[in-house]
């Protein structure tokens, strides 16, 4: 008889002491919860993000939402969707006619973007011959903040790389949201999403492949959201 654990990453076959969990399983759960909580409250390391991008010769700019701290961010979602005044001023002189604006935002896991944003972006940029806006690195940002940033920069497309809500076993999962003609007031039905980018989830290669497919299709069809279906052909030798 094989262990149930061979079939699923779920917490099966834990054993029991009376009606309760064995101590080791209880401690394991509490450690995982602490890691997920840390990921939610970890501040975005803007300095290191900018340095990493500059080392890869990627122009970038630091911004922040109107939610000044994490507690405000968690309580007031609308503030995380808007830039503060200083950030808006910082973008004004950068306005041009860009094909795409990339945005890196902490979302609910700065850990996720610390780990995955720069490597994924580098991979995507290496395969893209587009006019690209300076990459925005945003503190206390939610997905919709990409709408305002894309609009202020004059970009046709906004691509937001953001930390997803941490699961107990996945504190560092990153998501990507793509919006055609970003402007304030866009709804989630007008976006496309690629989710679960992390070591145990979607690989950088496959995520970049899906993103480039969506970017090209969005640009060709001039739309995004429910009418744009992700039907990227399979990667050769990927097994998926």
């Amino acid at each position: 008889m094989k262990s149930l654990r061979e079939f699923t990453p779920a917490r099966v076959d834990l054993g029991r002491t009376g009606h309760s969990l064995p101590t080791s399983e209880l401690l394991d759960f509490q450690l995982a919860h602490a890691r997920a909580r840390d990921a939610v409250h970890l501040p975005l390391d803007v300095h290191s993000m900018l340095l990493e991008l500059k080392q890869k010769n990627v122009p970038c700019v630091a911004l922040a939402s109107e939610a000044g701290d994490r507690f405000t961010y968690l309580r007031r979602p609308e503030l995380g969707r808007r830039l503060n005044a200083e950030s808006r001023e910082r973008l004004t002189p950068l306005k041009s006619d860009y094909d795409v604006a990339f945005v890196i935002a902490d979302g609910l896991s700065a850990l996720a973007v610390h780990r995955h944003a720069a490597p994924l972006l580098e991979l995507v940029l290496s395969k893209l011959d587009w006019k690209i806006a300076p990459v925005a690195v945003v503190e206390q940002g939610r997905v919709a903040i990409g709408d305002e940033i894309g609009e202020l920069l004059g970009a046709k497309l906004a691509v937001v790389l953001i930390g997803e809500r941490p699961g107990l076993s996945s504190p560092d999962s990153m998501g990507i949201y793509l919006t055609w003609q970003p402007r304030a007031g866009r709804t989630d039905a007008e976006r496309n999403c690629i989710s679960n980018i992390r070591a145990e989830g979607l690989s950088y290669e496959l995520a970049a492949h899906k993103l480039l497919f969506l970017m090209n299709e969005s640009s060709r069809l001039k739309l995004s959201g429910v009418l744009l279906k992700e039907r990227a052909p399979l990667l050769p030798d990927s097994g998926v």
Partner: protein, 309 residues
């Protein structure tokens, strides 16, 4: 107060009897892998979980995936003659299409809310719910009763869809129960802590909302259960869940969730575990649904062979 109101429903077993506590076995998997899901189901059955329903939240709303999971559940239940009901919690339109194509649907699931606009945001309306219920009734799959609907709700859903018309979260939630009871559901539960801190900020607010929801549901005649849960960006932990679990046990909740190790690896939130249900049954002297209890004395051990096939 809520403990004085008993709401009893039936499909292949009887849920809500005095002295009983049922569980929804929730065996979700991040890629909808049927074997992975089956492993979690078998683990849960061993702990006496699953008498309210074995209900899978699929990642994908894709019809072939939903049909595959429905057939797997039916095959498992038939193979071991388990007196319980199953459900794949896809969008109701997907379940309706699956029924048209002959898939074995026991309970029809839908998330509902307390305003027409919020239900529209969920992509449902009353006529659609009615049609789905009639489809499920025509299948005549229940053996001891014909309560065929399963609804989930939760405070804040109308507000988050900007469909609350200035009405408070709790009133909107009670309105959802009014809608639910029209369809004589087998199961209704609030997913109380799933919505996030913008709506219920911490453990104390989740505790309050969970007790309110159970009370309002019972008062309106619903077979009320509760997904006692929280996300990782809320100020809450498993101790808060233990508190709400114990209080709802005292309040006579019909059923709670059974998630392996309380960690839902697909929806990324924490609920109650198989162990938690044993704890609650233990301290209040509660037992599973009678038909399921009788089966579990003899039938459980054979299920282990399912994964070998």
């Amino acid at each position: 107060m809520a403990a004085k109101i008993r709401v009893i429903t039936r499909f292949r077993n009887t849920v809500g009897l005095p002295g009983r506590l049922s569980t929804r076995l929730q065996p979700n998997h991040p890629t909808d892998d049927p074997k992975g899901i089956a492993a979690s189901i078998i683990d849960g059955l061993m702990y006496g979980s699953g008498d309210a329903v074995i209900g899978i939240n699929p990642v994908s709303d894709n019809l072939p995936t939903v049909e595959t999971l429905l057939r797997m559940l039916d095959h498992l239940r038939e193979s071991y003659q388990i007196p319980c009901q199953s459900c794949v919690l896809a969008h109701i339109t997907t379940q309706m299409e699956a029924m048209r194509r002959g898939a074995p649907v026991d309970l029809v699931f839908q998330s509902i809310a307390g305003t027409q606009a919020a239900n529209a945001a969920f992509g449902v309306n009353i006529a659609m719910l009615e049609e789905a219920r009639n489809q499920a009734l025509e299948l005549r799959r229940g053996t001891v009763g014909n309560n065929v609907m399963y609804f989930e709700t939760g405070q804040g859903s109308a507000l988050s869809a900007n469909a609350h018309h200035g009405v408070d979260q709790q009133t909107c939630e009670a309105r959802a129960y009014g809608l639910a009871r029209h369809f004589r559901p087998m199961l209704v539960n609030t997913v109380v802590g799933f919505i996030g801190p913008e709506y219920l900020y911490d453990g104390k607010q989740i505790l309050r909302a969970g007790l309110e929801d159970h009370f309002c549901g019972k008062l309106l005649g619903l077979p009320m259960g509760c997904d006692i849960c929280y996300t990782n960006h809320v100020e809450a932990d498993q101790d808060d869940m233990d508190t709400l679990l114990t209080m709802l046990g005292a309040a006579g909740v019909n059923y709670i969730m059974g998630v392996p190790g309380a960690d839902d690896i697909m929806l990324n939130y924490q609920s109650t575990s198989f162990h938690d249900a044993l704890y609650l049954r233990g301290i209040f002297g509660l037992r599973p649904a009678p038909e399921f209890e009788a089966w579990s004395r003899t039938g459980i051990s054979a299920c282990v062979g399912f994964l070998e096939a």
